[in-house]
Symmetry: D2
Amino acid sequence: MNQSHAATDDPIGVAVVGAGYWGPNLVRNFQTSVEFRQHWLCDLDVRRAERVLGDYSTVRATDDLGTVLADEAVQAVAIATPADTHLTVAMAALRAGKHVLVEKPLAASAEQGRALVAEAERRGLSLMCDHTYCYTPAVLRIRDLLHNGELGELQYLDSVRINLGLVQRDIDVMWDLAPHDLSVLDFVLPPGVAPVAVAAHGADRIGAGRACVAYLTLHLNTGAIAHIHVNWLSPVKVRTMIIGGSKRTLLWDDLNPSQRLSIFDRGVDVAATEELGDEQRREALVSYRSGDMVAPALPEREALRTMVEEYARAIRTGTPALTDGRSGLRVLATLEAATRSLADRGRLVEITDWTTS
Amino acid sequence: MNQSHAATDDPIGVAVVGAGYWGPNLVRNFQTSVEFRQHWLCDLDVRRAERVLGDYSTVRATDDLGTVLADEAVQAVAIATPADTHLTVAMAALRAGKHVLVEKPLAASAEQGRALVAEAERRGLSLMCDHTYCYTPAVLRIRDLLHNGELGELQYLDSVRINLGLVQRDIDVMWDLAPHDLSVLDFVLPPGVAPVAVAAHGADRIGAGRACVAYLTLHLNTGAIAHIHVNWLSPVKVRTMIIGGSKRTLLWDDLNPSQRLSIFDRGVDVAATEELGDEQRREALVSYRSGDMVAPALPEREALRTMVEEYARAIRTGTPALTDGRSGLRVLATLEAATRSLADRGRLVEITDWTTS
Amino acid sequence: MNQSHAATDDPIGVAVVGAGYWGPNLVRNFQTSVEFRQHWLCDLDVRRAERVLGDYSTVRATDDLGTVLADEAVQAVAIATPADTHLTVAMAALRAGKHVLVEKPLAASAEQGRALVAEAERRGLSLMCDHTYCYTPAVLRIRDLLHNGELGELQYLDSVRINLGLVQRDIDVMWDLAPHDLSVLDFVLPPGVAPVAVAAHGADRIGAGRACVAYLTLHLNTGAIAHIHVNWLSPVKVRTMIIGGSKRTLLWDDLNPSQRLSIFDRGVDVAATEELGDEQRREALVSYRSGDMVAPALPEREALRTMVEEYARAIRTGTPALTDGRSGLRVLATLEAATRSLADRGRLVEITDWTTS
Amino acid sequence: MNQSHAATDDPIGVAVVGAGYWGPNLVRNFQTSVEFRQHWLCDLDVRRAERVLGDYSTVRATDDLGTVLADEAVQAVAIATPADTHLTVAMAALRAGKHVLVEKPLAASAEQGRALVAEAERRGLSLMCDHTYCYTPAVLRIRDLLHNGELGELQYLDSVRINLGLVQRDIDVMWDLAPHDLSVLDFVLPPGVAPVAVAAHGADRIGAGRACVAYLTLHLNTGAIAHIHVNWLSPVKVRTMIIGGSKRTLLWDDLNPSQRLSIFDRGVDVAATEELGDEQRREALVSYRSGDMVAPALPEREALRTMVEEYARAIRTGTPALTDGRSGLRVLATLEAATRSLADRGRLVEITDWTTS
């Protein structure tokens, strides 16, 4: 199936499913991409789809997914419906031979996610997860810095994503917001480094029936720690990630457009003392670096535009997207472990590796 | 003993013990207070004490604590020595009939702290803990706002205290920095509200032999949650506390002198639905407030100056200081529980109430 | 002509002229407004117009203004072409009986602007200037605060608008950026208060042939002062306006979305001493207020959407738009005086009142 | 006189005159310097001097300047009295053979300042102006960057120093605050670059009898422009200086302790086109650089401590201090020209070069 695209530069026919919060962004970005030709916007509420398209569009609105999937001009489907419908819609699309892009989270459970991954791989179709933040110029640069060793070895990662947010009816704050942080973590970690266990604490102080504030602590296989604070109740908006490396430390402040990344050549070193005993190591000399800070120039580019191009690349080459179904599955596995921890008073819970099972 | 001071306005004779990092601040503030007359600065390294006093001071330097405690002009002793010496020095001072002020933490363990509290109460002496942050204009105002109900009921508290800090030889980052957050928490919580259990995660990625990054999650007896992030390795300096109340939410940013407190009339409410079942509550209407933010004018006043005055007040009236030995003991109890949790992979550990035992 | 619209709720037929930097924003906002029906996008380079419309639009592109003006379905024209073409395009549109919206500045000179105002008034057509910033929620609030006296009497206004900006080929930084500040000033000043003279200094240090940095000082008829700093060369982006009133002072920081307006109840008062002589007044007691700061909640609303609605309102009611041609003319008069001052080493130049001549 | 010091490492005997706002800072810094031995604090109000010294100091207080100047142990005098007394006090000290340090401004007029400079030079005594900001690590670095060409040629300088400040009884805001900006400008400009004319606008809207808001525009002999905004009425505190160079642009934000200096490799270039005519140059290609930003690590060091050491160096070597009397005189000359401009509606006034007359 992919082969047909590799042989041609024709635009890839695409349909968007879901005209709610995120759908319009997909509609807009597919329309400005020369890689795609958009044919449909599908929503159970066809009036909503029509409103999103506006009075001047030649794209067709429909409430019938079957029509969309039967359309041979449609080679790819982008799904922005509620998470608990992802399995049904995406599975139908895959079985109709369409490439699939799914809004985060990949599915409502790891088991569902695994089914989608298996189906796509069996059929040789591209299954991609729209982990949008991964395609921001800032995160792409962070990935480079961690992969090529410029930050050194990861020591800790601290992510804060808090705001006065919409209290969701079906999911808690962890499932709503933490996929952003977890997908970025999955994206930037060097090969071989991964979280293996998670502890989660949360609070539902407004009586919403689910956690509105949550803290996740991830233990990595290297001994490093990653911590995520997500919060729907904060009147202060914060979106920062600190990544402490053995060589340099990085601050990503997504709300500071003039200085999104700051790379500090400051830190604490302990003299290499591996041959020493424990007592001796504690006495070993600690030294401090106090170097310059560099805020690298970043291109101004909409993340969704880059994501859409990566989707086209994956489809045309038949290779996995940078944020493929497996990455979406790893995020789901961590969320499920965190949910178990939350229910068990913050007990440290191991993260199942579904991708090898 | 206290009675003698109640009867007079004579300055209280004071001696400072410890001329390291914090001692000079005490020296300076006792010297500018009309309530005190400073007689001694005592340090095992008398040269260090002399350097702190400088070439122009009439205060005497000594390395002999016995001389200081034997001096009848000295009615109060302020201790700024390493934590593991607090028990010995403070106990000697109490036994010599002196009022005692101790730098945080009160002692190296809750058991030691309890011994000091008991000794001071038996002798009718003032035992005060120098929880300096509690005496900042910002924290005094926060205490008012929480005690008089202006923020409503506490929902969550999130404290971040991170910086490139001195890696201590004897204690980890929790024992070094979290006493600040825990003492503020103890200070501002309304009567009857208190943490009952704590989970702690940490990392020692630089091989310093103790945690350099730590996260504490405290569960309160009201169901609210408090979270503390302390970190010695961050090149970015952050000192913020968000206090989410049912009516308003407050941000304390200690590094923003022009706007240290911001009080937001923004938040999320759930319609009162106590008579409803669980399912129904989840469907209940969530409403959002989006009101103004007020940054109250705060007096400009050095916290240590206010602390020193509170010390004088406690001595002269024979009543407990706002941050008395018992508050120091509560902080120690939480730190000990956190240490146990840290050693047990973040298991939730109950906090012992030593003050009633 | 206006009457016909007052009698109906049919959408107003509109055409956009100019598909450069600003045109696409107008295209998008007219398309989402129920008040308008967009028929044309006209540009001398029809390919550029087509690119702006994209592959999915039913709006027609053309390079022939005559066709647009001859279209009876078109009742209003929005012009986003270079300033030196405004006179020709707008005059043609007015003479064709169309209402006209013009991007700032209204025209290339006050004389041209006056001709447009006269033509529109003679024909009873709406001539509106797209002073976009005036329609931001922040500026609408500032206008309220100054008009209803909550800030007291204006004492000074200080506006900074600096950034690494596109060096224009035809105009200097004053003509490029200061229309924003001058139109806001014109918009928020209470009735009867107006600038009467201006001094301007500038520098062309990069040899661009025109000022790239400029400072305008405006003297108001009340004795108050307004100052504008515009700069194309600053790598730091700043967009702030401080408005000092006799009661309160306001800061508008357009780059701080979480706190765009801050209203300070802080200031300096001089005791009322009008009966005293000069010497005595200088000795009179100065007192300082140090009250709270309030950051009012503002609606989140795109300024262009509000502007487009105001355009519809003006057309339908036959009354002047809030930023009508006369306001555009006042801005031009100030710019011309500033240009004369710049050429005469910063001499204070009186501002001609063209609207009464 | 200086020679005697060059021959010895004995501390320089010093007396401080003036125990008001600034005096205590001098007292504290001379006391911690090993270069000086402080003998006196002199103030017309001896009680004030005693209060500044406190209850524990061995430094003597006096209200008799004659006693101080007659004391042979006193080799240097530091003057922190009101500006209109500088001439009398400093002249008396010089005539008594003392080196003199004067708080800014050097004197109440350029003529007075010239008299002091002449007297000091005649007697071979060090006359230094306490331009404190020049000795901050940030300004010392800026001076290096401009002197060694790393910023390229100066294009513009923009300084903002606004705050809710004490309305002075004897001087306007220009004389109160602008000496800081003018002394920094004088300090960092490369040799041969200097302001030659100034225009000033101001407003006294609170009826204080003198300008409370002022704007100074300085024209430099290179064609560059420097602009200073000083304001006593602003509830917002801003202290920034932007220095635009042909290679890089620098931002100094004195209120951001974690990032005081930011050096931007961003800017606008015009292709070198010196052989072209005016018309051609205007069409020449403008190019934009969008490189990284670097915030250099700066030492943490109190400016006054460095200033005091420079005073000792100047005295011991007999060479001019970095901020000698002549630099103070240049600042006065600019202030006087600005005052004339302010009185003449902002007319551009040439700055007299007193140092060569």
